[in-house]
Symmetry: C2
Subunit: 216 residues, 2 copies
């Protein structure tokens, strides 16, 4: 059996993060697509606490949580590092990771799932948080500097930009309001491995229609 | 001026985490207590995004977020490591860190701030999550193994145990229900550096009374 296995779900940005890191680092792996409506015994066995994907299994040892997996990959396979080597730069990347996953993501989820006044307020907060990210990206090629790295992988949730009709928060993320983030997405889309790990628009549209109640 | 400065707030478990790590690692530092009702220009300058403490300033370079700071300290000062050296064990510690800060902490905050049925539900969730942590600690001296480490520092929010009258969630954390966590707290209280970084009960009681609206 493969030394590295990844249990994932195609539409999950968290699964896509791990796949992109594996590809960028050149680690060979076996991918197992999970049916989230009928989770396999492997998911329950390897991630009994959260029962969620992505799960990485390396030499039969399981790991859950995309951000935990990304750091594990970088510490275990030293070639093609995705995190900065300098401790202060690495800490700064972790600071922004927290901003994206613990500030922007919950706010955006609230904007997607609420209605009326609550939704308007959440959209305004998303707007302010994106403005902060736009400023952070100013003058850089990628979030991680001259080439794609850890923070670009983490920021893959910004591909919402691509689905303004499907995801409420996509309407906030217009090229006019956020030209730098928009430009960053265009650059990412030109990179082969990113495209291999990107959720394709048409497939996503069909998926969203099929689960219309559970908007991401 | 000191090479390492820590801006903190005495009652913040996040500030206490950083102090404990500095002491465990033997790093000398200058501590600056912040008045959160009247934040100093330093807080606004060094942490413009969140305007919160703790903030570590090392050689004039600022860092915010307790978890980010803990990893930075361990990567910059190699002696007395607080994180495990093995990548898989380190990843496992990060998995539990996420569980504590992103699952248990928000649930406990909800239990503290809500009332009636919502509070009962949140308390039940806290109970379930603590059961998972209790199982994780079973058979170990500390969360980090034979000696205090990263995960014990992160789990310092469990000192709620000590304030059953002041913090709603403290009522859930009884020695009868969670004997292993309770025993762990008794062990921690015997360690000098932990005690130096612990919020003293009497002072905390007065503080909670003074801000009775904003229960932690």
């Amino acid at each position: 059996m493969a030394e590295v296995k990844l249990f994932g779900f195609w539409a999950s940005p968290f699964s896509r993060r791990v796949e992109l890191a594996l590809k960028l680092k050149g680690i060979s792996y076996e991918y197992i697509e999970e049916d989230l409506s009928n989770k396999s015994p492997s998911v329950l066995k390897y991630n009994p606490i959260h029962k969620k994907v992505p799960i990485l299994v390396h030499k039969e040892k399981p790991l859950a949580e995309s951000l935990v997996i990304l750091e594990y990959l970088d510490e275990t396979w030293k070639s093609n590092p995705i995190l900065p080597q300098d401790p202060y730069e690495r800490a700064t990347a972790r600071f922004w990771r927290k901003f994206i996953d613990e500030m922007l993501l919950p706010t955006a989820t609230r904007a997607n799932r609420s209605t009326g006044k609550e939704q308007e307020q959440a959209k305004e907060e998303v707007h302010q948080q994106l403005k902060i990210l736009e400023d952070e990206l100013k003058g850089k090629e990628f979030f991680s500097g001259q080439r794609i790295g850890y923070l670009d992988i983490v920021a893959n949730i910004l591909f919402w930009f691509e689905y303004p009709e499907e995801v409420t928060v996509g309407k906030v993320l217009t090229p006019e309001k956020f030209p730098i983030i928009y430009e960053w997405i265009q650059k990412l889309k030109k990179v082969d491995v990113v495209n291999e790990c990107r959720v394709q628009k048409e497939k996503y549209q069909d998926f969203i229609k099929s689960i219309s109640v559970v908007k991401p």
